[in-house]
């Protein structure tokens, strides 16, 4: 199997507080994988290990077949850290251009790459604007530009849509879908279930340890222990076990709807029991 990221038995603690417990995960080339977990679940701590801001106490990390602390590997990574901002006093072009230059790309090539990145992210109109004058969504798009300008093979995005309005979030989703189509391996952390469901090939539920892993539909069916029945006559919703479903429905008068729980229901159920 052609893995872009492999983590094996990773542990991390801050004093007596265990932040990560025996984390093992993988991301294949061309795959978009989401880490879904509540605040304080250790998502950022895990991600920081992948680009060597933190070093593992116990466990092994392999990115593109090597140690992520090596600069050769880092040059093949694109990272959008949590709550990060571009440089306010530089223009959109300058932020993206220097993100290429500091990765060792020459002036001429960096200019070409920057223009192409600006075009692909639909930032042409804002090319020469200072970042301090941009909206949150445009700042985040500039950050994505800084992360992808050098054509990385692996993209790591730590809660890239947090704080964005619904429209800006959708625009960023479209960008991520396009990047995935280009064959990049993408690891995304989020606490928005809908985001993970729409974008991901696979999802890891994480809360200091891996709780479960699978495709969104697989997780929904695997952990659907009940059906949700909505009785439109009374306006009530019921949780009904599969073996009791037929009998339950036969007793209803009027319109009703039967559905399996959403990924969000599964997620909340699992996280609260973890």
């Amino acid at each position: 199997m052609d893995y872009a990221i492999q983590v094996k038995d990773l542990n991390k603690s801050y004093g007596s507080n265990q932040a990560l417990v025996n984390i093992s995960l993988s991301v294949r080339r061309g795959e978009l994988v989401s880490l879904l977990g509540p605040n304080g679940a250790g998502k950022t701590t895990l991600v920081k290990h992948l680009y060597c801001e933190l070093k593992p106490e116990v466990g092994r990390i392999n990115v593109l077949g090597g140690n992520p602390c090596r600069s050769k590997i880092k040059r093949m990574l694109g990272v959008v850290p949590q709550e990060s901002e571009p440089y306010d006093d530089l223009s959109v072009f300058e932020n993206i251009y220097y993100a290429a230059r500091i990765r060792g790309i020459g002036r001429r090539e960096a200019k070409v790459y920057t223009e192409e990145t600006i075009e692909s992210l639909d930032l042409r109109e804002y090319r020469n604007k200072y970042v301090m004058d941009l909206s949150g969504g445009l700042k985040r798009r500039t950050l994505v530009g800084m992360a992808i300008v050098h054509r990385p093979e692996v993209l790591i995005l730590d809660e890239p849509t947090t704080g964005l309005d619904p429209l800006a979030r959708r625009q960023l989703w479209d960008i991520l879908k396009n990047l995935k189509k280009e064959g990049r391996a993408i690891l995304l952390t989020t606490h928005y279930v809908e985001e993970a469901e729409v974008l991901s090939d696979r999802v890891y539920f994480i809360n200091k340890k891996i709780i479960s892993e699978g495709t969104p539909s697989d997780l929904r069916t695997r952990f659907s222990y009940y059906y949700e029945v909505i009785d439109y006559t009374s306006g009530k919703a019921y949780k009904v076990k599969e073996e009791e479903l037929k009998e339950f429905i036969s007793k209803l008068n009027g319109k009703f709807e039967v559905r399996i729980p959403s990924l969000e229901d599964v997620y909340i159920e699992m996280i609260s029991h973890a």
């Binding site: 850290p81 990060s84 901002e85 530089l90 300058e94 500091i102």
Partner: protein, 238 residues
């Protein structure tokens, strides 16, 4: 790595356009005003301390304080994480981010010398000017690494920013910077040797009079800087 660092310095030079007024005032006008103002009240014997002390003060503010404050802010805004992800080492980022300030600090050192020379406080030739450059570069490195270690240890940006100012000013006025080391009471000597400005100021003053022991003080300062670079690495910024 040199190519990447020079690109980073170029980026920070562009960014400094927005801060030019503050940088120009604090790096050039303010220290010159100190030397000019105090030149009327300082005795001839202590003029060298006024000049070397102000240059040391300048180095402390433009390296130690500036590195800790700008690095702390960049960590708070996720930029330091971004830079680490690109392969730029934290120490390289520290030096590049404060390059403009440090450059102005070094320029300021020579402007202070020129003004002091014009006012008749000191006389200096090319050789001493070169020695001073060596001391300024080493002093800037030491101050920057102290700022880097502070940033690594203190995660709270507001606290870091305040302490960077306190240390920058404190190390300039509670250390033998504006007066001789021999004036310090014996019981305070161990404390004084903990302050990086003690080494930097001795090296700067002795290089200005071409006293060969400036080499020794520079070596102490360099060693001090390397210890703090190692501590920063141990505390997670390498």
């Amino acid at each position: 790595m040199l190519k990447e660092l020079s690109s980073l310095i170029e980026m920070f030079l562009k960014e400094s356009r927005a801060w030019f007024i503050a940088i120009f005032f604090y790096a050039i006008v303010f220290p010159l005003a100190i030397v000019f103002g105090f030149s009327f009240v300082v005795s001839k014997n202590f003029a060298i301390f006024l000049v070397s002390g102000t240059i040391t003060f300048q180095v402390a503010i433009t390296s130690l304080t500036s590195v800790a404050q700008s690095l702390g802010m960049d960590r708070d805004r996720g930029r330091l994480s971004f830079m680490i992800s690109t392969g730029i080492p934290a120490w390289g980022y520290a030096i590049a981010s404060s390059f403009v300030n440090n450059l102005m600090g070094i320029v300021s050192g020579y402007m202070i010398l020129a003004v002091a020379s014009f006012l008749g406080l000191i006389t200096i030739n090319y050789m001493e000017g070169f020695f001073l450059l060596v001391s300024l570069i080493i002093g800037t490195y030491t101050g920057s690494m102290f700022g880097l270690a502070m940033t690594a240890k203190i995660r709270n940006w507001r606290l870091l920013s305040q302490l960077a100012l306190v240390f920058g000013f404190g190390f300039s006025f509670f250390a033998p910077v504006y007066f001789p080391l021999s004036y310090i009471p014996k019981y305070l000597i161990p404390l004084v040797y903990l302050e990086p400005t003690t080494y930097i100021s001795q090296a700067i003053r002795l290089s200005m009079v071409a006293n060969p022991s400036f080499i020794l003080w520079n070596l102490y300062a360099l060693l001090y800087g390397m210890v703090f670079m190692a501590l920063a690495s141990k505390w997670g910024l390498s």
